[in-house]
Symmetry: C2
Subunit: 198 residues, 2 copies
DNA sequence: GTCTATACTGGGATAGAC
DNA sequence: GTCTATCCCAGTATAGAC
């Protein structure tokens, strides 16, 4: 006897976020208008604001699932030998870089997060979780003699993230092939942490 | 018998760009209004548009001098031993990261450049010059036996830039001390290119 | 729940006096 | 060259019919 079908409702929201994500990636948040989103999603503004209170809310929704994704990843990672786990995590973090449109979205979220405290909490927390987990894995690998860290584990973890940032940064060069360069990234990281040859 | 004093004219333009740069760094390009700039620079909008045709033009002007700066740097670098020159260039590229407000501006320009073709040309060209010069220096250092590149010089140069991007990326973490981490960056690069201990 | 139409706001840019 | 006043438009969000 309820008036809304929650499944349909969620599906529609998802349709809107998916459509909006593409536009945000392509044109940026500020330059994407609500009208653009409505046109692309083939709905009216009135309908859109039935599902989301503001434009920003659409943007946030897009990133809300990331935290859970990462949590799942680390569960899987912990079943591996620590250093292999680190490499797996890095690969996972690099995946968005392989798709230019997703990469645009990542650039955008960094930008927006620095000015939207609510979004910042979401993203910043996530980053910190990744860093902490990476630091733990690196420490274990070090203790097991698989790598020989030249700096503390936390710093190393930070720079592992920094290397991923670097990968994204270089996407501005049209000749830069992220698929190929992920292996270079692994080489740099391996040499940095003194990984033994396998 | 000329009606404008070019020196005064340039000084005023400079005053506007300097003022605007601070605001762009702090709030981002899109969220900085022309009114904001005028207020901060203590001029009227009419006056501002006498010096610049559009808001974007102000933004571009800020980065127009970078090319020349870099050219000068490479002239000085070439007087050094190649590997020392590489480290000098890297240090130079890292300088903006040491000042949070300047760092904000760098984030902003990447963002904007991906959507402003004219700005893109400016920035992209500059990046390419840096990469080419770095690649040359790395090749020379390699040939001199000072380093042992595991990849081609161009790829190595690209990743040297990527590491600098990573440094900027990590600035989002408030605990990240760029001054300290520049030395970690040098360590990572040195290990990557197989630099011999001095 | 979805639409059309529109109110309201704010920002970029211009006109024209001084 | 600089100002004030203002135009014009884009964009978010709402009202109210269906």
């Amino acid at each position: 006897m309820r008036t809304v079908d929650p499944v349909k409702h969620a599906a529609k929201k998802r349709h809107i976020t998916d459509t909006a994500a593409g536009l945000f990636a392509e044109k940026g948040f500020d330059r994407t208008t609500v009208a653009d989103i409505c046109k692309a999603a083939e709905i009216s503004t009135g309908s859109l604001f039935h599902y989301f209170p503001t434009k920003r809310a659409i943007f946030r929704e897009i990133f809300e699932q990331d935290g859970q994704d990462n949590a799942e990843m680390f569960v899987r990672a912990k079943e591996l030998e620590p250093w292999d786990a680190v490499l797996m995590v890095i690969d996972h973090l690099c995946v968005p870089a392989l798709d230019r449109s997703v990469a645009g979205l990542v650039l955008e979220v960094v930008q927006q997060a620095s000015r939207d405290p609510e979004l910042w909490e979401l993203v910043g927390h996530n980053e910190q979780v990744v860093r902490d987990e990476l630091a733990q894995l690196l420490q274990k690998a070090h203790d097991a003699g698989r790598i020989a860290l030249p700096v503390d584990a936390r710093t190393a973890a930070t720079w592992a993230q920094g290397l991923v940032d670097g990968l994204f940064g270089r996407l501005i060069d049209p000749d830069f092939d992220a698929t190929v360069q992920v292996s270079t990234l692994r080489l740099i990281l391996s040499r940095f942490v003194g990984a033994q040859a396998p």
